[in-house]
């Protein structure tokens, strides 16, 4: 059983720029992932409007019946979110690490165009390693 089911990265206008599936159910339909990403983008924005106190930055953790969704928003509005098993800890660290990988291997790639889908080999390799490390840490507990 994997600790992480899937990873999404969405740009500041709600477009899906990266999606990776680690679950057992197989890859979701591409159109569905795009829809889910933009739906999440708007739900994130609405949750800020409904805050009873000022300074809300949107949903960080959504606890569903069969999964947890951890979301991290960078200062520039790019959102990273992972779908994980319920009760998985330390996902914020993993998300910050993925953000670091994104800044190092995507943003510093001279051929990468901002806000466009991510196709960077080094990012894929390092991401796979990070997820693998996280999974080992999870299983080792």
């Amino acid at each position: 059983m994997a600790a992480i089911y899937s990873l999404y990265i969405i740009n500041k206008s709600g477009g899906l720029i990266f999606y990776k599936d680690y679950g057992l159910q197989g890859r979701m339909d591409t159109n569905d992932t795009l829809r889910l990403a933009s739906l999440w983008h708007s739900m994130h924005a609405i949750s800020q409007q409904l805050s009873p106190v000022s300074g809300c930055t949107g949903i960080e953790l959504l606890e569903a019946d069969t999964f947890d969704l951890h979301c991290f928003q960078s200062l520039t509005g790019t959102k990273f979110f992972v779908v994980s098993e319920p009760g998985t800890q330390h996902m914020d660290n993993l998300l910050k690490h993925i953000y670091e990988l994104y800044t190092d291997y995507v943003l510093k790639n001279p051929f990468y165009e901002m806000e466009m889908p991510i196709r960077c080999e080094l990012f894929d390799i390092n991401l796979a390693q990070a997820i693998q490390k996280d999974r080992v840490a999870y299983l080792g507990r």
Binding site: Y5, S6, G23, L24, Q25, G26, D32, R35, L36, L39, W40, S42, M43, I46, S47, Q48, Q49, L50, S51, P52, V53, S54, G55, C56, T57, G58, I59, E60, L61, L62, E63, A64, D65, T66, F67, L69, V83
Partner: protein, 169 residues
């Protein structure tokens, strides 16, 4: 209580354990999206008028439910994104947390939605929501003068609810 057998039936007030006043507000919606009850205890920020606010809240819950139903990693066949789900059908959610608040959500089999907004550090409030549902059943549903689907105007329910939420840790 048939649906939530584990929780207490009698609406006697539990002794408040902590003196924390963590509750921000509560919403109760019926299955048609009518806001039956809205109470607030601590809400400094108001971005919309109340009617718009209720609509936005109901819309957020509706969309989040269709999002979780579609994202559910435990089943392969989930239908299309946004197909209407009956209460209890598909994967739902019980809470979400932002940096400023935590929203706990419960839906009864009859489609009554109870939403409690509290401090982000609040613990799991699923049992509390079931308790509030029981209060609703005892004080509202069993009230012969209450017409289903209309806003709740029961002082007894309101005071009991206020007292209960104030006692939440």
């Amino acid at each position: 209580m048939q649906f939530f057998g584990s929780s207490e039936i009698s609406p006697s007030i539990p002794v408040p354990t902590a003196s924390g006043n963590n509750g921000h507000m509560i919403y109760i919606f019926n299955r048609n999206g009518v806001c039956l009850l809205y109470r607030e205890w601590n809400r400094p920020l108001r971005t919309l008028d109340s009617n718009q606010d209720h609509k936005l809240m109901f819309g957020l819950l509706f969309s989040l439910k269709s999002l979780t139903a579609k994202m559910d990693p435990s089943s392969a066949e989930k239908g299309n994104l946004g197909v209407p789900q009956l209460p209890g059908q598909g994967c739902s959610f019980h809470s979400f947390r932002t940096n400023t608040y935590k929203l706990s959500f419960m839906e009864s089999p009859s489609g009554i939605k109870i939403i409690l907004v509290t401090h982000p550090k609040s613990s799991d409030l699923r049992e509390s929501l079931k308790y509030i549902y029981n209060l609703y059943v005892e004080y509202v549903v069993k009230n012969p003068l209450y017409t289903p689907g209309t806003p709740i105007k029961s002082d007894l329910f309101n005071t009991t609810l206020d007292q209960y939420v104030r006692g939440l840790g």
